[in-house]
């Protein structure tokens, strides 16, 4: 062990160029998507949840062709009335719940720290998360709409205006949920507690935001509370798309955009300030 080190060869310095953030982001997105669908919890409680809930509620309340009378006086199948809430819930689960839990777990298990020790840029890491959320969310919505239309007789909108509304509410809602999910991932104290902390919040929001019960039948204080959070406005926006004869929801588009935008901005500020690659107890 007394050998000198002078005779050893030095490894050649890297000759290739560093991979760009965009291709790395795509690589990460593909990798994250593949792993998402291997996590049974995520597939059931994030991906399949809205479809399962739509099927249960439509089967229970829509028995024998029961319909709902909208405020505009139109008769629509129960599933059609219920669909906007499920679309909104799906967006919230795929973005907020999925990221808040998975990033908390990654941080706790040391996966984030490991990535920080490689030349993977932070932008590529987050681009990968965005790609994963978009992929899951788009597929989830496609399944939801196909099931609603084929199994529960829901008439999907045909106007370009309605689909344009769907697109901007979907994009803004997903962005808002993702950013808030990243920010919220610092709240759970451990990876193991992450789903216990995140899931009830999402569930309570569903109950007070008009996902399960008609929003205008909720006590006014509950309506007021729900109106502070994004989910109620996601439901509102999606109602305007799928229940066109509804409560004149299109008049609320300004508020929807404003509330989602405000949460997006707040989530960004908080997320950038609080994001950590290491556990809290790790110095």
């Amino acid at each position: 062990m007394t050998t000198t080190t002078t005779t050893r060869t030095t490894p050649t310095a890297p000759v290739g160029a560093l991979p760009g953030p965009l291709p790395l982001g795509l690589t990460r997105a593909g990798y994250e998507l593949r792993l998402f669908f291997r996590e049974r919890d995520a597939v059931v409680f994030v991906f399949a949840y809205p479809v399962i809930m739509l099927a249960i509620f439509a089967a229970v309340f829509g028995q024998d062709g029961a319909t709902v009378t909208t405020q505009g006086g139109a008769e629509i199948p129960f599933a059609q009335y219920f669909l906007p809430g499920m679309v909104a819930t799906g967006i919230m689960l795929s973005s907020f719940q999925s990221l808040a839990i998975s990033i908390a777990v990654e941080r706790d298990e040391g996966g984030l720290k490991r990535l920080r020790g490689t030349p993977l840029p932070a932008t590529a890491y987050f681009a990968g998360k965005v790609g994963q959320v978009l992929g899951v969310s788009l597929l989830q919505n496609a399944v939801l709409l196909v099931v609603a239309a084929s199994a529960f007789g829901v008439t999907l909108p045909t106007t370009a205006t309605a689909w344009a509304t769907f697109v901007w509410v979907f994009v803004l809602g997903t962005a808002c949920g993702s950013v808030c999910g990243v920010a919220f991932s610092s709240v759970p104290r451990s990876g193991r507690s992450a789903s216990a902390v995140v899931t009830p919040i999402v569930l309570v929001l569903q109950f007070i935001s008009g996902v399960f019960f008609p929003f205008d039948q909720l006590p006014s204080w509950m309506q007021g509370l729900a109106s502070v959070f994004p989910l109620r406005w996601l439901v509102e926006g999606m109602s305007a798309v799928f229940v066109p004869t509804g409560s004149g929801a299109s008049g609320q588009h300004g508020t929807t955009a404003l509330v989602l935008g405000a949460w997006l901005a707040a989530g960004l500020v908080v997320g950038v300030r609080t994001f950590r690659w290491r556990r809290r107890d790790d110095g």
């Binding site: 050893r8 030095t10 560093l18 996966g111």
Partner: protein, 295 residues
Amino acid sequence: MTTHPSTPAIEVTGLRKRYGDKRAVDGLDLQVDRGEIVAILGPNGAGKTTTVEILEGYRRRDDGVVRVLGDDPATAGRAWRSRIGVVLQGTDDLAEASVGELVRHFARFFPSPRDADEVIDAVGLREKVRTRARQLSGGQRRRLDVALGIVGRPELLFLDEPTTGFDPQARRSFWDLVESLRSDGTTILLTTHYLEEAERLADRVVVVAGGTVVAQGPPDQLGGRTARRAVVRWDEDGRTHEVRTDAPTHVVAGLAARLDEIPGLQVLRPTLEDVYLGLLQDAHVPATERQEAVR
């Protein structure tokens, strides 16, 4: 970004880091040359992990000069990160991805990665290439950690307690892997609790206690001549006598002349462990922590 190969891989002068009132690192100096394997030994709380994590760029220092591959880890960018490899301790991620997927995925982060299959072969996980990380044994997971640490072809590799929890056979095959990295010219900074490991792998051992270096040298010269004095032990007048000496032959010859046959004669050379524990004692490390420092 490229530094002259003759500059040291790691240069640390007067490093200090404080957590509240505690001085975790307190004026530490360290130099690691290119191609060298250096083992850092020290009891828990000696400042090993803090020091290594400052070198890896995870933590900020309070004071001192730090150069790793010629750059300051606190400000170095992606190009620098592509030249180092980090094997952390205590990570438990990666669960649902397979060995092959992980190594190939991490390889894509680097400009000139090693061939993923060669790396998997080198760490002895060829049969496990399709196995998900969750299903690997502790030793196999550790070898996967090493695979992910070396796939970027690092010039400098940090190994933080790489063989904790290994059985003796797994440890020996891991040492062979490190030897092969040595012959590739990789510089390695290793922290370990196993003195046998340091003795086998390291060109130089650095003993850290109380946030500073208390001794360093090749494993067979650590502590200098005084710490390495032989002990001559024999029985006389119903009790055991002991003499520390640089000239044991001379002592034994004297005893033989006096006693003819020497009862209970022993000539002992201190092991690395004896030397190490003696150094910790000199550094005023409490006995309980000294016991924990040797596993």
